[in-house]
């Protein structure tokens, strides 16, 4: 049954594809040629709008059709006070704005998302739209006829999204395959600022008490840590997942205790722990550990444990996320402590340098929406128009702020949340999930202003401090690189032992269980585990990504 249905679908897709090809070759060439000319992009946008207006009457679309959307992400996560999407203001509003009824589907709460996704792929008919982490396996899915190649249709039916891609090279690269097939609607962040949320933090009140200035170089940090240890018996404690990259930039290293790859100045993919800079950095960390400056509990601490340590004033310096930082600040306030936690800039090697790396994610989230082959051709235009909505000006406002006059108003030309959101008893973060679709991953561009408004000032200042001196994407390995089936099998076989060994050794170097004199043996062992081959695959994938 499934086979027959699949074959029919393939035949249909093919035949329609051919008709489209022959029918649209003219306009296809047009948009391709105009997109190449940068200065001409504006006129082409005008052109496409003009042709669109004949066929497309704008939102809300008049239709009786329902489209089904499977999504394991923020968009389908209901606020706890609602039991269905018919009660949720964001989903109701989206239907009103677009005119399209949506049958939202999501994995049951508490189930493993990847497993739910794979099970869903196994069913006979797929939803029209699926939204999940697709980038790595997308070429495979297109080849297996699970998701549609939208190269032809995207410029026609999603003109706003298409225009956004023409403007932003990074977004454009991310949502197509190495072969140039467009298939995805991405969940984008407006700026790198909003993609950064972890960094060094320090007790500012203690700095002031000890007449110390905000540390910059590793020597400054060393002095601060020693002073805090003597004066307050406070240590450097951290949740080791949050110490990433931690203080590495102080030695021009690119990782702390987690196995990390990065792109170096010569566009080469490198394993951070195999570098001499990392050895130097670990030497410093080990020395701190040895002298009792680093809290030995850090090896096993989680966020909750860290929070207790911060509240008990046993920590003077740490590395944490803004969500935790706001907890610490609240704890201190409610228990009457003077603790004044602030974000500190990432350390540098020499005064005045720019930190080589800071924590951050890609400005494209790994979540993306694709149209499946189960979506019939008649429906394709509607589905694409619906997806395009998030990338229109109106859609941008709706996805980020909800309805004007309800959840936001314009104050001096800036959309500002109303009391309905800001005064919610559960706090602004929970309140936003009722009215807004981009707090996590949405089918739109996430506004920086939204992120700024939902965070407390101390967190915003912290992110400002962390990001002030660095271009995040310089050394980051892009999240939308894809692997072929063979490559991904090979990588999963090679990489597990490498990361296990590297992270195990990193901690041993830290605690001194293994001497850093054995660093060369460590490198030799890594090489015997095919580290070179792993980097080679990643390099190829990166190269293909960069020429997309």
């Amino acid at each position: 049954m499934k086979n027959l249905a699949q074959r029919c679908a393939i035949a249909l897709t093919l035949s329609i594809g051919i008709t489209l090809l022959s029918g649209c070759s003219q306009s296809g060439e047009d948009s391709a040629s105009s997109s190449k000319v940068d200065s001409g992009s504006q006129s082409s946008a005008v052109n496409s709008v003009a042709t669109e207006e004949e066929t497309f009457a704008g939102y809300p679309i008049e239709t009786d059709e329902t489209i089904s959307v499977w999504c394991a992400g923020q968009v389908t996560t209901l606020h706890s006070s609602y039991t269905s999407y018919e009660e949720s203001p964001f989903h109701i509003g989206l239907e009103e704005m677009t005119g399209v009824k949506v049958d939202w589907q999501a994995p049951t709460a508490g189930t493993d998302r990847s497993q739910a996704f794979n099970l869903m792929l196994n069913s006979d008919t797929l939803p029209d739209v699926i939204c999940f982490t697709l980038f790595e396996k997308a070429p495979q899915y297109i080849e297996e006829k699970i998701i549609r190649d939208l190269t032809e249709e995207m410029p026609l039916y999603a003109p706003n999204y298409w225009a956004l891609l023409q403007e932003n090279e990074h977004f454009d690269r991310s949502v197509k395959t190495d072969d140039g097939q467009y298939y995805a609607f991405g969940s984008f962040r407006e700026s790198e600022w909003a993609a950064t949320y972890v960094g060094p933090v320090v007790r500012k009140d203690w700095l002031e008490e000890q007449n110390l200035s905000m540390p910059e170089t590793m020597d400054d940090w060393d002095e601060v840590l020693r002073t805090f240890k003597d004066a307050y018996n406070a240590q450097l404690s951290f949740h080791k997942g949050r110490l990433s990259p931690g203080f590495a930039s102080g030695y021009n290293a690119y990782a702390s205790l987690l196995a990390t790859i990065y792109v170096d100045d010569n566009q080469k993919v490198q394993f951070a722990m195999a570098q001499p800079e990392w050895k130097e950095y670990m030497t410093q960390l080990h020395q701190w550990y040895d002298e009792g400056i680093i809290d030995p509990d850090s090896v096993t601490l989680d966020d909750a444990g860290m929070r207790t340590k911060a509240l008990n004033e046993k920590v003077g310096v740490s590395c944490t996320a803004i969500s935790q930082l706001s907890n610490w600040v609240n704890d201190a306030k409610s228990s009457g402590l003077d603790a004044d936690w602030v974000g500190a800039p990432y350390p540098v090697k020499n005064e005045g340098d720019i930190p080589c790396i800071i924590q951050g994610e890609d400005t494209i989230s790994t979540y993306a929406a694709a149209v499946t082959t189960s979506c019939p051709d008649e429906k394709l235009e509607l589905v694409l128009r619906w997806l395009d909505y998030g990338y229109t000006e109106e859609g941008y406002m709706y996805w980020n702020y909800g309805k004007e006059g309800e959840s936001y108003t314009m104050v001096d030309g800036v959309p500002t949340y109303t009391e309905l959101v800001t005064e919610d008893p559960e706090g602004i973060n929970m309140a936003l999930t009722k009215y807004v679709g981009t707090t996590g991953t949405g089918l739109a561009v996430q506004a920086e202003n939204m992120v700024r408004q939902k965070n407390v000032p101390v967190c915003i200042e912290a992110v400002d401090t962390w990001t002030s001196k660095n271009q995040l994407s310089d050394h980051m390995y892009p999240s939308a690189c894809s692997l072929s089936t063979e490559e991904s099998t090979e990588v999963s076989t090679i990489y597990a032992p490498i990361s296990t060994y590297a992270e195990e050794m990193a901690l041993k170097f830290l605690t001194g269980e293994e001497s850093l004199d054995n660093f060369d043996a460590f490198l030799a062992k890594l090489n015997s585990m095919d580290l070179d081959r792993y980097l080679e695959i990643k390099q190829e994938s990166y190269k293909r990504f960069m020429v997309r």
């Binding site: 499934k2 990847s114 076989t493």
Partner: protein
């Protein structure tokens, strides 16, 4: 088709006989057959039918192709698994953790049951029993949270160590402490619950045997050794065989919550390694191969223990 039909009829004496016997038996016991029917259906549908899925251990399973259409790859998944440089370490750790849990964890509830059995004051006995099986109902995440907090340098255990003049260390960060913490907390959590079955078995021992032993001059301890323990032996044997049949199934959630890279060397087991590999979601074939390997080792141990037990004390599962 026709020939096949005729065949049994012609040479049909035993077959026909068998059929007649079956029919007669069926008529005689039709209600019993009816009663067992749901059980057979249950096992057929939920245990035997899914078993064919095991073939994906020998395939490169792709969700879009389905189980039957995925390409065969022979023993590739097993090769990948056995050739992994951490294979032997993982195998050793699995056996160590499981072995120690059995060595110390298996006798513990028996001892508790024997001790409880000697208590004559019934309210005290019941109170002890209730308290001892309470931890069983606490989620493993909470238990591990507690263990972590207790093992920190400023935790309860370190307070005790410092009180006796020891040095404060992060207990969970050292390899030597992992097994005692893991096994000890395991015993603490399940001792009460596991002792229930022994207490039930104890109540089945004939009281006249105790009286006879008393008349023969057996002390309390003598009664325990010569009456109570032999009475418990069949239960102990069966439970032990079952336990051996699960030798490779270690509680990986707990390991996952308690270990970290510094203790990988002693704590990393198959299930945690595969979990970290992120392969559970991505590669069903590989995890099926690992699962199949686990099952085979388990069944070998089960049969072995069962065989030995059959010879030595004539109690066995089958």
């Amino acid at each position: 088709m026709q020939i096949e039909h005729i065949k049994p009829a012609r040479s049909g004496k035993p077959a026909g006989h068998l059929r007649r016997t079956l029919v007669r038996d069926f008529k005689m016991n039709k209600w019993k057959y009816l009663i067992i029917l749901p059980v057979i259906v249950y096992f057929a549908i939920f245990a035997y039918k899914p078993m064919y899925g095991v073939i994906i251990a020998f395939k490169n399973y792709r969700p879009s192709l389905g189980i039957l259409d995925s390409p065969w790859v022979g023993l590739l998944q097993f090769k990948l698994f056995f050739r992994d440089i951490y294979f032997w370490r993982l195998l050793r750790n699995t056996f160590c953790i499981s072995g120690l849990s059995i060595l110390f964890g298996f006798p513990a509830p028996i001892i508790l049951a024997l001790l409880l059995n000697e208590i004559r004051c019934s309210w005290f006995k019941r109170t002890v029993q209730t308290i001892s099986y309470m931890p069983y109902f606490i989620s493993v995440v909470v238990i591990c949270g507690l263990i972590k907090a207790f093992c920190q340098t400023d935790g309860v255990f370190n307070d005790l160590i410092a009180f006796f003049g020891g040095e404060r260390t992060n207990l969970l960060a050292s390899k030597q402490n992992f097994y005692p913490i893991y096994v000890g907390s395991g015993i603490w959590q399940s001792i009460g619950w596991d002792s229930i079955i022994y207490l039930a078995a104890l109540s089945g021992i004939d009281q006249e045997q105790y009286e006879a032993a008393k008349i023969d001059g057996a002390s309390r301890f003598g009664q325990m050794v010569y009456v109570t323990l032999p009475g418990l032996l069949p239960t102990i044997t069966i439970l032990f065989i079952l336990r051996m049949g699960g030798i490779l199934n270690v509680g990986y959630e707990k390991i996952l919550l308690l270990y970290q890279p510094l203790t990988y060397e002693v704590a990393d087991v198959f299930s945690t390694y595969v979990y970290r590999k992120g392969i559970i979601e991505a590669n069903y074939s590989y995890s099926t191969a690992v699962g199949l390997f686990n099952s085979v080792v388990n069944i070998v141990f089960l049969l072995l223990t069962n065989g030995i037990s059959k010879k030595v004390n004539e109690t066995s599962l089958f």
